[in-house]
């Protein structure tokens, strides 16, 4: 009988699996899904389920075509689908949502080797793909509770249908005339899951407490954006409410807690995460203030995703007591 087993490390396993992490993140998104369903009707919930299904089917088909083991059970494809759906306007036609999901899973994730090998967050890239492809449908925001007077509560009314005439408005980020309380609750036009700061914060704080995401990235992202907006108000002499307005409108809270914290595409060390968050905040601010687009959250996260390998190389932790190569030689 073997009393001693000799094995390489790790010897202590925490029992956390990829599947558990992915399902917990999806659970943390449930408040946002609920708030989206309240404000934008049953079609919002339908979009979330539809995108999750399309993503999972794409994952299964891709893995089968490449003759590799199936990975759909790890839940990452489902999470990508849910996140992408929360980043879409509720009236987006279904075929466009499906194309976005297929692009996110097949091109961004599986062509590069599947989970862990993707260079950018699939959901963010899927959103940007749609934004560049079908810009007008991606930026027509339905006003909250638009569905009340529609047949079937607007379940089958997509962009372009005459029943939807006059129910879209500009995102509060562009128009700049929403009340802060409404912004916080999410009673504004926008993507399905980005409007309600309250619901997103509940999910985000749950993730931080359960130690699945580090608080460094979201807080440095939101913090740097707040500081920059504050500086802008000081210089231009605007109203101080612009600072909370910048944080609550648009998709930064969804981006900061759920997109920028993706394990695969964000730096490993706390120092790296700090740089990542500040970079996101800075880019978002620059795009919002100086570019022709009202929102820059997704582009800023994609840009920082691309810089992540370099940030990781610069912020490599040194082993305790290690000496740098130059000193060694001297």
């Amino acid at each position: 009988m073997n009393i001693l087993t000799v094995s390489p490390s790790p010897h202590i396993k925490s029992g956390i699996t990829t599947q558990k992490i992915m399902l917990t993140v999806i659970a943390a998104l449930i408040p946002a899904i609920i708030s989206g369903t309240i404000f934008f009707g049953p079609r919002a919930l339908f979009m979330v389920i539809f995108c999750a299904l399309v993503s999972m089917i794409t994952e299964i088909v891709c893995r089968a075509l490449m003759k590799k083991e199936g990975t759909v059970s790890d839940g990452s494809a489902m999470l990508t689908g849910v996140l992408l759906a929360l980043n879409l306007p509720v009236t987006l036609p279904l075929w466009q949502a499906a194309v976005g999901c297929i692009f996110a899973i097949a091109v961004v994730k599986q062509l590069f080797g599947g989970l862990g090998c993707n260079f950018a967050n699939p959901a963010i890239t899927g959103r940007i793909f749609l934004l560049l492809s079908v810009g007008s449908d991606m930026t027509s925001w339905a006003v909250p509770f638009y569905y009340k007077h529609l047949p079937m509560l607007g379940l089958f009314e997509a962009s372009g249908s005459t029943a939807l005439d006059g129910i879209t408005g500009a995102t509060p980020l562009a128009s700049g005339n929403a009340e802060l309380t409404q912004l916080f609750l999410g009673n504004i036009g926008g993507c399905i899951g980005e409007t309600s700061a309250l619901a997103l914060l509940i999910g985000g704080i749950f993730l931080i407490i359960s130690k699945l995401i580090s608080p460094v990235t979201p807080f440095s992202y939101l913090g740097s954006l707040a500081v920059l907006t504050f500086a802008k108000v000081l210089i231009t002499g605007g109203d101080m409410t612009e600072v909370p307005y910048a944080l609550l409108s648009g998709g930064v809270i969804l981006g900061a807690f759920f997109m920028a914290t993706d394990y695969v595409t964000s730096p490993i060390t706390a120092k790296g995460k700090l740089i990542f968050g500040i970079g996101c905040g800075l880019t978002t601010f620059i795009i919002r203030e100086f570019a022709s687009m009202p929102e820059g959250c997704s582009f800023s996260i994609l840009l920082m995703n691309l810089l992540t390998p370099y940030i990781d190389r610069l912020t490599k932790t040194k082993p305790v007591g290690a000496r740098s190569a130059s000193k060694e030689r001297a």
Binding site: W95, V99, L132, S133, V134, G135, G160
Partner: protein, 221 residues
């Protein structure tokens, strides 16, 4: 090499765009429509055939020290010719191709064929090579242009496709879409011609070999 294989190798097996990855600049820039693709492809084919023939006939006269300037002068002559022809007879194509028409002069397919083939072979074979490579290039540009035009504008050769109106994705006619379409077409062509990726990637064919000193080999092993 038989004349037939000289003619046909450019179309799929050694396609300048999908296999050799030459002439990327016009491939990505002018293929927003199928008609532009054909126009650019046929113009390049004309220049390629003529320059291949002339360079081949002069191959014993051109000293190797100054062969590049000589090739460029010969190629530029034919580019000027086709430019005037297009300006006179197809002004719409002339305007839509713009500066890329003049840039045929420095198209690496033409220089590449001059260096690799025309300067080493007989005139008849050089002309066949020019025709084959030119048609391969035209075919590639036509494919790229068709895919991008159908999905990006909902038309094909300017004809509106029923059912595509309102279902177009403008990304396809943007530069980024050009790269996506090119990548996917290269994958399809590799699959069709049953090319396999090399089992082991060595430093022999790596353009960065001198800079990296085989550090990547150490890292991967």
């Amino acid at each position: 090499m038989s004349n037939i294989s000289t003619l046909t190798k450019g179309i799929l097996k050694e396609n300048p765009v999908f296999v050799s990855l030459l002439g990327m600049c016009p491939t990505l820039a002018v293929t927003t429509g199928a008609f532009n693709g054909i126009g650019m492809g046929l113009s390049t084919t004309f220049v390629l055939i003529c320059s291949n023939l002339v360079i081949c006939l002069l191959r014993k006269l051109i000293p190797s020290q100054v062969k590049l300037p000589c090739y460029i002068v010969i190629i530029a002559t034919f580019v000027t010719l086709i430019q005037f022809l297009l300006h006179g007879f197809v002004p719409s194509l002339y305007t839509s191709l713009g500066a890329f028409l003049e840039l045929i002069t420095v198209n690496c397919i033409i220089l590449g064929r001059a260096e690799m083939f025309a300067s080493k072979n007989k005139p008849f074979a050089s002309v066949l090579d020019g025709i084959g490579m030119g048609l391969g290039f035209t075919l590639a540009l036509f494919l790229m242009g068709s895919v991008r035009e159908i999905f990006g504008s909902g038309t094909w050769l300017g004809i509106i496709i029923p059912g595509m109106t309102g279902h177009t994705m403008s990304l396809f006619i943007m530069p980024a879409g050009g790269f996506f379409v090119l990548g996917i077409l290269i994958a399809v062509v590799s699959k069709l011609s049953k090319r396999k990726p090399p089992k082991k990637l060595g430093c022999a064919n790596c353009p960065n070999a001198s800079a990296c000193n085989a550090k990547c080999e150490e890292a991967s092993s």
